[in-house]
Symmetry: C2
């Protein structure tokens, strides 16, 4: 059979942008009409190859192309976007999956395995603050009670908005039939959302897994004092304790080969003539290795305590969120790596610093991802862009690995069916 045609994916993305994009960026926020419009295009394209769609209890959209075996390869990503989002984040992976189904549908024979496309619901969490909604639900990682009371910026509750889209939170917990049943592998193409591939000048890479995250705030408490009349040695300046800690977060991240970001810093009382009484620093630490991540966190807390004590301040940590590192399936990652390298892509797999639906799926199923470059590392913005040649190369690699898996493999056996638990 013929391979995939990346040109058709580019055409689909153009049509998607025509319907849901424009000057203000992508308007495909989950649980809105813009998202419905995007899904309508997907339904139309699936209809053209004779495939119908089903939505599961969590709002995920599925289409299935039967194969000789009922064992299923699952391909997917997400059509939802942040407000004023980019043209490729999520959508590229969905239409690349569609293209695999199209190529298989045009072939003379059924594929060896069944192949399913999934468009995960509300990956971004941009409206209600809970990302990876649909993939969390399917992998039983979502607690309906933990999200029931969420409201959007306009005060709309999550539960009634979901009900408008035919999703019942209670049925997610009890009746969801997972489209992952009988699946043996999950594959997802996504833009990198970082600057590494562009800087290296490569069009495509395998992804080794997603990093673990420790996210917390450090609240430093010192004492307000008059900027003019308080000698330097009689101060307890909370901002300076936080500033020293922010610089140390960077040093610790570099030392461990991870990432450490201090994206927020709020100073009180925040007056030019008053020594800051308090400063709250937001910290986000990431690493692919759990033990390294834990060491980073320990070192940051020790540094904060030391800087606070040295200035007569106190410091208190408040945990915000954490996620354990997720390594993708070594065999699948190796398949992608070989295909990517052969296409002029990166020799070594790249860890993903962002979470993806694949992070959730990897908890229950052998999983791998394909990355293509993001210009300037920019995503979640109308500026988001990947050169057409890179999109073509990445879709080709994704298609090659997917078709190989669907055909029972060329030179390598199907991955054994494994299920992981958290």
């Amino acid at each position: 059979m013929a391979g995939v045609d990346p040109g058709r994916v580019l055409n689909d993305l153009q049509e998607l942008a025509r319907r849901t994009g424009g000057a203000g960026g992508a308007k495909r926020l989950a649980w809105t009409d813009g998202w419905r419009h995007a899904r309508r295009l997907l339904r139309e394209r699936l209809g053209e190859i004779g495939l119908a769609c089903d939505e599961d209890e969590a709002g995920n959209l599925w289409a299935t192309l039967p194969g000789v075996s009922s064992e299923r390869l699952v391909l997917g990503s997400h059509l939802d976007s942040v407000p004023a989002g980019g043209p490729l984040d999520g959508a590229l992976g969905v239409f690349a999956a569609l293209e695999v189904l199209r190529a298989l549908a045009e072939a003379d024979e059924f594929p060896a395995t069944t192949v399913a496309l999934v468009d995960w619901a509300d990956e971004e969490g941009a409206r209600f603050g809970h990302s990876l909604f649909g993939s969390s639900a399917v992998t039983r990682a979502l607690d309906p009670d933990a999200v029931r009371e969420l409201v959007d910026a306009d005060g709309n509750g999550l539960a009634p908005v979901l009900a408008d889209h035919g999703v019942d939170l209670d049925r997610i917990g009890t009746e969801l039939e997972s489209g992952l049943a009988e699946a043996f592998a999950y594959l997802e193409l996504h833009i990198e959302q970082g600057p590494v591939l562009e800087a290296e000048g490569v069009p495509v890479a395998a992804v080794s897994g997603t990093v673990g995250v420790e996210r917390f705030t450090l609240r430093f408490e010192g004492a307000a004092a008059h900027a003019g009349s308080t000698p330097m040695e009689m101060r307890a300046d909370a901002l300076l304790a936080a500033a020293a800690t922010a610089l140390e977060v960077e040093a610790i991240a570099r030392r461990h080969g991870g990432r450490g970001t201090t994206g927020t810093l709020e100073v009180r009382p925040g007056a030019l003539t008053v020594v800051p009484a308090s400063a709250e620093l937001g910290v986000d630490l990431r690493h692919e290795a759990a033990e390294e991540l834990e060491s980073m966190r320990t070192e940051v807390l020790a540094a904060a305590a030391g800087f606070a004590a040295g200035r007569g301040c106190r410091v208190e940590e408040t945990a915000i969120w954490s996620a354990v590192p997720t390594a993708f399936d070594p065999d699948l990652v190796e398949r992608v790596r070989v295909a990517a390298a052969a296409a002029g892509g990166r020799e070594a797999p790249l860890p993903s610093g962002a979470l993806h639906d694949a992070t959730m799926v990897a908890r229950v199923l052998p999983t791998a991802m394909v990355f293509c470059p993001s210009r300037g590392g920019i995503s979640h913005s109308p500026e988001e862009h990947t050169d057409e040649a890179d999109i073509r190369a990445a879709v080709a690699v994704f298609g090659e690995v997917a078709l190989e898996l669907a055909s029972g493999g060329v030179g390598c056996a199907l991955p054994s069916r494994r299920r992981r638990t958290k």
Copy 2:
């Protein structure tokens, strides 16, 4: 003649607190009824010794006790407070000046010189943002056009509010007859508003002058980036450039024996998962020596430029305000120093890190100040406090020097009449 009686000053302050204080702190905001109530008490007390008050074109309140010579000693401070202010800031100096007039009025003879009390209008600038209003007007440092458009938090304009209090901005510029005409010296008692005297355990000190101030913001511009997917070495983190600069401001201030404060830091976009694109740091530098202050500023700007460049950021300075250092009159300062030291106070004069009406007056007249301790260095707060024994000691020193000057001096001649220009 007898000296001053500090107990009467304590009684006056108690009565002032009864009328304009309370649980929420002092309520003597300039150009409000609370301020009028405070001035009414002062008028009553002056009336008890047969003195009437005049308000000049800038709203300053004057009372004059005639002497043998028409050359005048001027004593004063301010009755206005910040909202929820302390019981002593300004008021202590006004009622100490009143006590000098009382002591002179009770004497059998006219004093050698005329003695005037002044309650400066709107020292704090807490309502319209322009401090030292009345003393600036009298010393011709106030440009009426520069304040004409000021509004308070409720949208009231300065000009109509002043008109309600009989003050016409245009007359300030053209018709103000200065109460400082024929003055040969100005003396002011004030709380320190800093922690030095308390820490040293002394009740009173002479003030050598007020520091110069350089106040500006530094806006660092880097690049927003994804906290997870952007390697540490590919970032342009504006917050970290600002953090390094804040720590260097402290180091520079220590090195020069001045004061350096970074009281504000605003981070954009201010999200936990985004490397900061911009950070605006507020800097306040102070020193008694103009050349040291200029060196501090130069070093801070060089450090900021270096930290920005090292991180691929840009930095831009915006000047906010500056004031040149003001040294008080050496002869007058020495008189106060001798009297303070003899009363168990500080041997050496202390520079004031805050500005005072005396800073303005010193531009045109030999000036000195007396400080007493502030518990915890706290002012502009209902917590503001000075122990009664320290108030007694400071009022006694202030009274001793004032009466000596009014009597033509004991063992030291009157300061020669000098006028300084800026």
